[in-house]
């Protein structure tokens, strides 16, 4: 296991290295290399330009530049953004990445949870309008042109009904008198979310592992209790309305994203369930006289879970990538938006920095998938 992980990590580091090299040579292959862009940028004061030229070693030979670039990247030094001057790329990414992650983590977890739950039921009761309707719905959600779907959601729920804000991260009016910055509040929200999910996860793990009597009650109670504590702490902090403003802005993009990836998750679960249901151990479980629900959940769904988990991690990995569209439509200031605006304003350091980060994120997610798989499938022992 440890050996496998080391091997895999090395492989991923190699991949990262190749990835960085490709980015470097793509940037350098175009006429007017990165140094040119920097030195010609009129926004930069002369001393900064000199410093940057020094930093990037513009006058050095290409291979030396390459080494410097790799070193800078690995130490998190991506340079200074043009469009958001004088903020550094690392600073911009540090602000935007959490926003993207929260959005996508929530939506991906939700959509896979719902997709798995429904796919399970649909596969179990084959035929009938439930299967037909949900399959059609899922294929539609799976193939719909995402920007259009997002637009329709905005139009329906924000524009026509006026229930939710149209887009963006927060409402500036609310924040005019705010005692803290949006980032501070948002970071607190992230911490809350982590604490909350860890607590609930621990309770669930404990009650199912130890087979505690009345597990359902304890689980429900713990959710209510932690929610109450969290709500209390937030109200006491006095910035609850600001946090709520952010939450309000999150509902529509999270809902849209959830619906979009829900279709795929459900179809995948359904197919995986149908395939698993043919296995002999499912017949054996039935022959053992286990209740239907136990056969479905413990034997079929548990084994059908494996490909769904793979797909879950993949969609997490590509969340930032696929989310570019959603972020752009909802004007959500995350990594995707950053990448697009960097690309359209030719803010090269920011574009490359954001891109490299997206790549690193994907690689890490792949590594996480491998570890998770070992845990889920006892047959896999590397």
């Amino acid at each position: 296991m440890a050996r496998y992980l080391i091997k895999r990590t090395l492989q991923i580091l190699l991949t990262l290295f190749i990835f960085l090299s490709i980015v470097f040579f793509l940037v350098n292959a175009q006429p007017g290399d990165i140094s040119h862009v920097y030195s010609l940028n009129p926004d930069l004061p002369p001393e900064t330009r000199a410093k940057l030229q020094d930093l990037f070693g513009v006058n050095e030979p290409l291979w030396k530049q390459y080494l410097v670039y790799v070193k800078n990247t690995l130490t998190g030094n991506f340079g200074v953004s043009f469009s958001l001057y004088p903020r550094t790329v690392a600073d911009v990414i540090g602000e935007r990445l959490p926003r993207t992650l929260v959005l996508f983590l929530t939506a991906t977890v939700l959509s896979f949870y719902l997709g798995f739950a429904l796919g399970k039921i649909v596969a179990w009761r084959r035929g009938g309008w439930v299967e037909y309707g949900s399959t059609i719905g899922s294929v539609t959600l799976y193939t719909v042109f995402t920007p259009w779907f997002a637009l329709m959601m905005i139009w329906l729920f924000a524009f026509r009904a006026g229930w939710l804000p149209i887009g963006k991260f927060l409402d500036p009016v609310e924040w005019r008198e705010a005692p803290t910055s949006a980032n501070a509040v948002f970071n607190q929200m992230i911490i809350t979310m982590i604490v909350l999910s860890v607590a609930i996860f621990a309770v669930f793990l404990f009650t199912t592992r130890k087979r505690v009597a009345g597990a359902r009650l304890i689980q429900a109670g713990s959710i209510v209790l932690t929610a109450a504590v969290v709500a209390g702490v937030w109200i006491a902090s006095g910035v609850a309305h600001l946090a709520w403003d952010i939450v309000e802005h999150m509902i529509l993009p999270v809902g849209t994203l959830t619906l979009i990836s829900f279709g795929g998750a459900m179809l995948l679960t359904r197919n995986s369930m149908l395939e698993t249901m043919r296995e002999d151990y499912v017949t054996a479980a039935r022959a053992k006289g286990l209740p239907e629900k136990q056969v479905r959940d413990r034997h079929v769904a548990r084994n059908a879970l494996l490909p769904v988990v793979t797909s879950f991690v993949f969609s997490l990995a590509f969340a930032v990538d696929g989310g570019i569209i959603i972020e752009s439509v909802f004007s959500w200031p995350g990594m995707g938006q950053t990448l697009i605006s960097a690309a359209t304003t030719e803010d090269l350091p920011l574009a490359v920095g954001a891109f490299v980060f997206v790549g690193i994120f994907v690689l890490v997610a792949h590594l996480a998938a491998d570890v998770l798989y070992v845990y889920l499938d006892p047959r896999i022992r590397y």
């Binding site: 151990y281 054996a284 022959a287 053992k288 413990r298």
Partner: protein, 321 residues
């Protein structure tokens, strides 16, 4: 013996409906098993042996229907039972040793856990008791109790088959159906396991149904043999009677397809032709297109039962005697 048989099957008929029509997989099958008896069902693949097993447990796919007949388990007909009542019968009263031991254990759970699961579905016992019981079962089937907490992929083929047997014994059922219990194993392991099963059966005074295409296996373990052809039992009788003086031409050709080590030298007979298409089985005796003794009457009338003591066959032109 006036004791009620453990299992009595009467005129059992089961069809699968597919696009092209009805597949007559089990057609008017009648047999019974006394306590402590072992019945062997033998026949080519597709003759309906496994379908009978699945029908007895009522584990049929959606497109299968039991059209006629009774399955009397200790006098109670289980055909009309609700799914929930049936669930109580499964494993508790009839359990099964599956054809593919490899695939009938769920790869993601420990083997012991999968046996305990069956126990918990039927018995109200504490977890410690269940574990203790699995331990004893492992003893019975000669498995190291340390293996209880191992996963199926950590077992060898023979070990898996033993675990499956332990699992089938878990609730002390009245009847165990063994569907090709040893086909996937090598000959030596196969022999060991069959012998153990035989002695366990005698010790616990259980009834068994062995299903196999392998005459040798059936001859070794069963007291009574039923020969199946195209969804019907064509010959039924004591093992020695059926194997030494077969009545039905099909049984004879099956016998001669196997070389005898101790018997006198003879031509190995081969069965020509294909087993019939159960969507549209031949009229009269279903074996007549392949039967060397077929006469006109065979092709249009159901054959009568020819009895010799406790041994019968459905045939117009009985052999032997």
């Amino acid at each position: 013996m006036s004791e009620r048989p453990v299992l009595a099957v009467e005129d059992l008929t089961m069809h699968y409906s597919i696009k092209a029509g009805a597949v007559r997989a089990v057609d008017g099958v009648t047999f019974s098993i006394e306590r402590g008896q072992a019945l062997g069902l033998v026949g080519e693949s597709g003759s309906g042996k496994s379908s009978i097993a699945m029908t007895l447990l009522r584990l049929l796919p959606d497109n299968a229907q039991i059209l006629r007949g009774k399955i009397l388990l200790d006098g109670v007909d289980i055909v009309p039972l609700s799914e929930e009542r049936m669930r109580e019968y499964r494993w508790n009263r009839i359990s099964m040793i599956f054809q593919a031991a490899m695939n009938s254990l769920n790869p993601v759970y420990k083997v012991g856990e999968q046996i305990i699961e069956a126990l918990e579905a039927h018995l109200e016992s504490a977890r410690e008791e269940s574990i203790e019981r699995v331990r004893r079962l492992y003893d019975v089937v000669n498995l190291d109790p340390g293996l209880i907490v191992r996963y199926p992929h950590e077992y060898s083929g023979g070990m898996r088959q033993r675990a499956i047997i332990a699992m089938a014994l878990a609730c002390e059922p009245d009847l165990i159906i063994a569907d090709e219990p040893t086909t996937a194993l090598d000959v030596i392991v196969q022999d060991h396991i069959l012998r153990e099963m035989r002695s366990i059966q005698a010790e616990l005074d259980m009834s068994m149904i062995y299903i196999s295409h392998d005459m040798a296996v059936i001859a070794e373990v069963s007291d009574v043999v039923g020969v199946m052809y195209a969804g019907k039992i064509v010959e039924l009788g004591g093992t020695a009677d059926v194997f030494h003086s077969p009545i039905h031409p099909y049984t004879r050709s099956l016998m001669s397809a196997f070389p005898s080590v101790t018997g006198k030298k003879r031509e190995l007979g081969t069965l020509t032709g294909e087993p019939p298409n159960l969507l549209d089985p031949p009229e009269g005796c279903r074996f007549h297109p392949r039967c060397p003794y077929a006469t006109d009457v065979c092709s249009n009338q159901e054959p009568p039962k020819v009895r010799r003591g406790n041994h019968w066959a459905a045939c117009w032109n009985p052999q032997g005697e």
